[in-house]
Symmetry: C2
Subunit: 342 residues, 2 copies
């Protein structure tokens, strides 16, 4: 992407100020990642003195020249577009610029999701030909997992955007998840063609005529129970679905408590099973999967959950490295350009 | 609605041929309902000889003049619009006509959902001023239940339709579920105003300026975890969400089996808890709630699940009676007309 040196070495910028437990969790996760990575340079972006203080407190070392001072922080609740304008020295703006300027191949943040999406799109910039970048989420499925695009990077998507999501999602499934010929589905109200809304019906035609492994419409229930690798939908639908799914364990806990109240034997059984249930339900928890990539950006951009643990931060960095090693951005670029050429 | 006699007596038409176990389950459920209803006349619509045969087989009696012969049946998989045209003597068409002609106040069917919606809308007809009829589903919620409108009667709804759903859903919550001042939410991507797609943002304004108890945007997770009685969304979103929710127990079963495979103690615990879990999960099962009303029709229209048991049929009939007793159609009529007048 840049000079001859960076052909080999992967450079990952990390938002030290991003997340509810920043910079502590970010610094710990970054140092942990460093030890398991080869040919990789990591950069911590944020308030120098705070980063140094976490390193000192935990008796850790990290190359001084890889700490990039950013005097401002975009808080979790801030309006993304306003923050981008008023805080040019924030860690998110600085990180997105590093990727734009090819000083880094990837930028990883567990901070303000909206600001991260806006900075990646507006500062780092989109891949040529991509109308809308997209965020995917991996849902548990009885056949393994199913990736849903888009879960909220955009809304009011047009049919062509759904096709772009499918192209990008397929490449990710192939290169990162190792699925050789990913099955692509279109989220709809029924299995037959024509069962969607206007945009979905139009997207059906585009997908049918693409070179993707399109298996047709999938319904809401299919996300968890059908063998499908990539499912595309408008970000408005995907975001609502994802958050709905995340809240299921909370409802389940409540339902079990209600059942326990009615019957002492049930109560005892529920006490016994608690840990086992928790283990099984783990895969429903979005946070367990670590950060999610924003695909369609001209560089690697990974967005993490605000409550990211050090381990989640490490996983996000490892994911960025894998995306770099598999030349994900270049492959998306090529596929989109090939499609546009017809 | 009709003559002086019917001012008192409620007349409910039942599609004897509707559902996977028709006419058996329908006839059994209807006869059971009859015994617990006062001032109500029930009509079984379908193939006479089949209805008589079920009655005879089960040693049941049912007034002969209340069996309305309909020589055709719309099957579960048939295209609704084609079926309506090609099968004018089908039980669904005959039933919808009875309500249109005021020979019945309500029509109940566990048959082809699409055909039932089309027949109710096109034959019975909409309430004046209602742009789109709507189907709601009751979701379990840690505060009780939450009704979601629309779950698939329409798609590509406009903002005004979402407002109509809210008006009709509020009346249903008040009159049938006994909630005095139902809290209404708008399904969206974030809590703040402006977080929706174009249609939702426009609907926000309409809802804010209505006399409903509008509590603002609710997110996907809020459906199960927030105290909200009626949530409105486009039918495309609602249908996908509903089917997704229905498939959660299937995933959960799978996840528990996976956990059991890894550990013998977990396996034992899961064996013990099976029945208890099933009990708790019952409320996630859409079928448990019986039929759902199609609101906005100029008469009572209730659509049941294809796999309806006799008990589910009975519940659908009792629901129709309650809607009649509470003058639901008239109240919706009045509210919509008041709104349109400004």
């Amino acid at each position: 992407m840049a000079g001859s040196d960076s052909e080999q070495k992967c450079k990952i910028a990390i938002d030290a100020m991003g997340g509810d437990f920043a910079p502590e969790n970010v610094v710990l996760g970054t140092v942990a990642a460093l030890s398991s990575l080869k040919d990789t340079e990591l950069f911590l972006i944020g308030k120098e003195e705070e980063i140094f203080s976490v390193l000192a407190k935990n008796n850790l070392s990290f190359s001084k020249q890889n700490i990039i001072n950013a005097s401002e922080t975009i808080e979790m609740g801030e309006s993304p577009t306003t923050a981008l304008k008023t805080k040019p020295n924030s860690s998110i703006v600085v990180g997105a610029k590093m990727v734009k300027d090819r000083k880094a191949d990837a930028f990883v943040s567990a901070g303000n999701t909206g600001a991260m999406m806006a900075a990646s799109t507006l500062i780092t910039g989109r891949i040529e030909g991509v109308g809308r970048p997209t965020i995917g989420a991996q849902l548990p499925n009885i056949f393994g997992t199913c990736s849903l695009y888009d879960v909220g990077a955009g809304k009011d998507a047009k049919a062509i955007h759904l096709l772009e999501y499918a192209i990008m999602g397929s490449i990710y499934a192939k290169e990162i998840d190792g699925i050789s010929n990913p099955k692509v589905g279109l989220l709809s109200m029924g299995e037959e063609e024509g069962k969607g809304n206007e945009v979905a019906n139009e997207a059906y035609d585009l997908l049918k005529n693409s070179n993707l492994n399109f298996i047709g419409n999938v319904e809401g229930r299919d996300l968890l129970t059908k063998q499908v690798d990539v499912v595309v939908c408008d970000g408005f639908v995907g975001n609502i679905l994802l958050k709905f799914g995340e809240s299921v364990p909370k409802l389940l806990k409540h339902l079990l408590q209600q059942t326990a109240k009615q019957n002492i034997f049930d109560a005892l059984k529920i006490m016994l099973i608690k840990g086992t249930l928790k283990k099984a339900l783990k895969s429903l928890d979005y946070q367990e999967h670590g950060g999610v990539p924003l695909l369609g950006i001209n560089g690697i951009s990974i967005i993490g959950h605000g409550s990211s643990t050090p381990k989640a931060i490490t996983n996000m960095i490892l994911k960025a490295k894998k995306m770099f090693d598999n030349k994900l951005v270049e492959k998306i670029q090529r596929s989109i350009s090939d499609y546009k050429k017809g």
